[in-house]
């Protein structure tokens, strides 16, 4: 044991290294020329950075946002600082921070967190010329949020265990005996709660509640979220699942032919083919209103909308961009959208019904 002091020396050494690194790390940033996907969005010369940076709380992941934000910085010279987290946790943080938050913009990939912030009066008004870039149905009546991409509810199915002929047109068919024990539902997941809330608004509480209870009685299986359902369907663990269309394209792009699942589009007027919007908001009381609006306007520009549909398989909402050919067409009669404004208070009743159905324990 002559070297009994060595662990302590080791610790001191590590401490010195880490402290030095913490102190010496970092440095100024210069706009680098764009490459890769970002260069497809903006191919020109970069402008030098100036003005106040825009601080974004993003519930959409870095993988989806980074090319867009790099292009924005390069093209406009407005710097961005981003905190990425789930939209729910960011909304909770914003509520905790109140008027002391650094955030100027909040991006959500589902409506629930926006309703939560709206109820607490934490959302500011978006400029009229930004709002008018999208259709009336994809923006707030009170100018508090604007949609910038859409994700459609679909039925994802395993191509080996489900015959194309037996695919349903409506979610109501899934309570029939032939679907017993074969369907996955993301029970208490945020996007399912949002969808179920609209279901209640459109079809009435009785119909919606009965459907969910029937699904539970028919052996519908509970899964944590959209991604885990798409994964399970792709492996053949379960035959069919009610999810957002988006995830299957991503899994297929990453895993390839081993992923044995396809999206099935329910009938256009069925509640099961709802378009759910990802939305941008300005934070009430932000010191950088101009930058915030500039950024949201950029999300609605033609190259960005094209990127969202061609690279990330979402539905574009502005600038006349058409959905990528790979995506099922949106129904001409107008796909239903979620009325975020009515959603806030509605979620509580939805959660009551969902919990009472016992789906979480399936």
């Amino acid at each position: 044991m002559t070297r009994s002091s060595s662990p302590i020396r080791l610790v001191v050494l590590a401490l010195v290294v880490a402290l030095c690194a913490a102190a010496c790390g970092g440095g100024g940033e210069t706009p680098e020329p764009l490459d890769g996907v970002a260069a497809d969005i903006y191919g020109g010369e970069c402008v030098g950075l100036e003005g106040d940076p825009v601080t974004i709380y993003s519930g959409r992941s870095e993988n989806l946002m980074d090319p867009v934000l790099s292009a924005f910085e390069c093209e406009t010279g407005t710097e961005v600082a981003v905190r990425y987290e789930s939209a729910t946790n960011l909304a909770l943080t914003l509520a905790e921070e109140g008027d002391r938050t650094d955030a100027d913009v909040f991006l959500s990939n589902s409506p629930g967190p926006i309703g939560f912030l709206d109820q607490r009066n934490l959302l500011g008004e978006i400029d009229e010329d930004v709002l008018s870039l999208v259709d009336q149905q994809y923006r707030s009546d009170d100018d508090l949020w604007v949609g910038f991409s859409g994700r459609k509810r679909v039925a994802v199915y395993n191509i080996d265990s489900v015959d194309v002929d037996e695919l349903p047109d409506s979610v109501f068919e899934l309570t029939a005996p032939e679907w017993q024990d074969r369907v996955a539902i993301p029970g208490t997941n945020g996007s399912f709660q949002d969808w179920f809330t609209v279901f209640r608004q459109q079809e009435g509480d009785d119909v919606a509640t009965k459907w969910l209870n029937d699904m539970v009685a028919n052996g519908a299986k509970y899964y944590a979220n959209n991604r885990s359902i798409v994964d399970a369907v792709g492996r053949g663990e379960i035959d069919l699942g009610l999810v957002n269309h988006y995830y299957n394209y991503q899994e297929a792009a990453a895993i390839g032919e081993d992923h044995r699942a396809l999206n099935h589009d329910l009938a256009g007027d069925d509640i099961g083919s709802l378009l759910i919007i990802t939305a941008a908001t300005v934070i009430e009381g932000t010191s950088n209103v101009e930058g915030a609006n500039e950024l949201i306007g950029y999300l609605l520009s033609e190259p960005v909308q094209r990127y969202y549909t061609e690279e990330t398989f979402e539905y574009p909402l502005a600038a006349g961009v058409q959905p990528a050919a790979i995506l099922p067409a949106l129904n001409a009669s107008g796909t239903g959208t979620i009325d975020f404004d009515a959603l806030g208070g509605g979620l509580e009743a939805s959660l009551d019904i969902i919990e009472a159905s016992g789906i979480a324990n399936q």
């Binding site: 044991m1 002559t2 009994s4 060595s6 662990p7 302590i8 610790v11 590590a14 401490l15 290294v17 880490a18 690194a21 913490a22 790390g25 890769g36 996907v37 992941s61 870095e62 993988n63 989806l64 090319p67 600082a81 981003v82 905190r83 990425y84 987290e85 789930s86 729910t88 946790n89 909770l92 943080t93 905790e96 921070e97 002391r100 650094d102 629930g112 208490t188 709660q193 509970y222 899964y223 979220n225 991604r227 885990s228 798409v230 994964d231 492996r235 663990e237 995830y247 991503q250 899994e251 792009a253 990453a254 895993i255 390839g256 979620l347 509580e348 959660l351 919990e355 979480a360 324990n361």
Partner: protein, 541 residues
């Protein structure tokens, strides 16, 4: 009290601790109490009704499932962690040093991707399926529900027991064991009669962490589709905040009850006064050598191998696809290097700061049996049962409301390290306490008689003797920080991405290739650090 004048060897002395130590202990206790106070405050400010919720089966059923799961995982982790620790430190099981590097690694898997990787490997249609079909076995089992959650959480949490017990075993004097063997005890009898009583406090400390971790876990139970209290808390955050806060308070109460219970059991146990092994007894397993190896291999394969198979599969699929004409990856080498560096930097700092912070409390409890110390101890450990998001939110809350101090630290790395410290102090506490108690009072008395000052005695007597325990504590906090999610996402300086935050961001939006690549980097990095901390130390053997 004459006890102060006639020091005993085994129990803490009833002397008043130095005032400076007490002061430091109280200040630290306040810091560690932030999350708990926040939850209590939010219960008051939102008019939450935790008592009323207790009457509802919607609360009691998930709570019951949480407790059931936690007990089952605790028992299994205690058994596995203790046997693996004994096998790899005290026997001639083959490839001991390799196992000692690998066995702590499950700590580093973030549960959301670790559990998903298990499912990807072992469930129907998964990677193991092809192998089984290849050898003609048609049935695959499905990991889910109580069994799935139990298996995954046991495999992820046994290191909480393994690390402290291994550290303790390396310091047990061989004399008692040798006497037992000479007097005719078999290896098994020696273990039961001599070794087990001496390591019980370490086993219990680790098992307590397993229990608390299990009731706070959300990622694994959610993916295993087992409906526990954390699921209820999570779905209520934005829909019915008062319910989420009330349920969190119940979780906290369970934690406090369990912590106080554990404390009252361990306090009655005499800590051993045999700190320094002149020679550690090594057992020859003889006929048991290969079955023992099989146990170690099975645990390593399941706990580290199975998730790694899926992660490597995701990573290689994505890399292959990107090099052929497929979709390009959304990360590049620069981003991975930057995130790796942030992970390394923040986890090393957090581990050192955390162990330094719990040491004063451990001294108060272990050496002086001070009431303030016991109180601080319970606070530090109990907060481990709170979901990480609440700890992150509580620190946001306090940082915004503590005037210039908050201003100073808001958005800085210091606040991030502080948050990790509050989150993981509990991990360091148990082992540090065992380490403190392993220093016999008589050594101090000798030091004092020879005229050494208190600080000098601490540096020359205590620290060297506590070193293995403290290093194990550093290891535990280090690996846990590397995978921590909510704090890393919400408290870090804006734009400060670690491997885990990038893995989370990628995985949740189904960029599984990117997530897989960075998860492999995370595991390799933690393996190197684990080797550095745990194995290199043992080389002088």
């Amino acid at each position: 009290m004459s006890a102060a004048l006639a020091p005993s060897i085994s129990t803490p002395r009833r002397v008043r601790p130095p005032w400076a130590l007490r002061g430091v202990g109280v200040v630290l206790a306040v810091a560690f109490a932030f999350p708990g106070l926040y939850v209590i405050w939010r219960n008051i400010s939102t008019d939450a009704d935790p008592i009323g919720l207790l009457g509802s089966s919607r609360t009691l059923d998930p709570l019951g499932r949480s407790l059931q799961l936690a007990v089952l995982v605790s028992v299994a982790s205690a058994a596995i962690g203790t046997s693996l620790a004994w096998l790899t430190t005290r026997t001639d099981v083959p490839l001991r040093r390799l196992w000692r590097t690998i066995l702590p690694l499950p700590l580093v898997f973030p549960t959301f991707i670790g559990a998903a990787a298990f499912i990807r490997t072992l469930n129907p249609g998964g990677l193991a399926n092809d192998v089984l079909n290849g050898v003609g076995i048609d049935r695959t089992f499905e990991l889910r529900g109580l069994f799935g959650a139990w298996l995954v959480l046991t495999l992820f949490t046994y290191p909480y027991v393994y690390l402290p017990v291994a550290a303790r075993l390396q310091r047990l004097a061989g004399s008692l064991e040798e006497s037992a063997r000479v007097l005719g005890d078999t290896a098994g009898q020696t273990f039961r009669r001599v070794v087990l009583p001496q390591i019980t406090s370490a086993v219990l400390a680790g098992t307590l962490l397993v229990f608390l971790y299990t009731i706070s876990d959300f990622g694994a139970v959610q993916l295993m589709r087992y409906d526990t209290l954390t699921r209820a808390i999570n779905t209520n955050y934005i829909v019915r905040p008062p319910v989420a806060f009330a349920l969190s308070l119940l979780l906290l109460l369970v934690a406090v009850i369990v912590v106080v219970g554990e404390r009252s059991v361990t306090r009655k146990m005499a800590s051993s006064g045999s700190p320094r092994a002149t020679r550690v007894v090594q057992y020859r397993l003889e006929a048991w050598r290969w079955p023992s190896l099989a146990l170690v291999v099975v645990v390593a394969l399941l706990a580290v191998g199975a998730p790694m198979v899926a992660m490597l599969d995701w990573a290689s699929d994505g890399l292959l696809r990107a090099t052929r004409n497929g979709r390009p990856l959304t990360i590049d080498a620069d981003k991975v290097v930057e995130a790796s560096w942030h992970t390394f930097e923040s986890s090393v700092l957090a581990a050192l700061v955390t162990v330094a912070a719990v040491l004063p409390i451990a001294l108060l409890v272990g050496r002086y049996r001070s009431r303030a110390g016991s109180f601080s101890h319970a606070i530090v450990i109990g907060s481990f049962a709170l979901p990480g998001i609440l700890i992150a939110l509580s620190l946001r809350f306090w940082a915004l409301r503590s005037g210039f101090v908050g201003e100073l630290f808001a958005g800085s790395k210091a606040l991030l390290i502080f948050a990790y410290m509050v989150r993981f102090g509990s991990l360091a506490m148990g082992i540090t306490l065992v380490a403190v108690q392993s220093v016999p009072d008589r050594f101090h008395d000798v030091g004092a008689t020879l005229g050494a000052s208190r600080l000098r005695r601490f540096a020359t007597i205590d620290l060297p003797l506590m070193a293995p325990g403290l290093l194990a504590a550093v290891g535990l906090v280090l690996l846990s920080t590397m995978k921590e999610l909510p704090i890393s996402l919400l408290i870090s300086p804006i734009g400060y991405q670690t491997l885990t935050t990038r893995i989370f961001n990628s995985f949740e939006e189904s960029f599984v290739a990117e997530a897989g690549i960075m998860a492999v980097v995370l595991v390799v990095m933690s393996g190197v650090l684990s080797w550095f901390l745990i194995l290199r130390r043992a080389e002088h053997r």
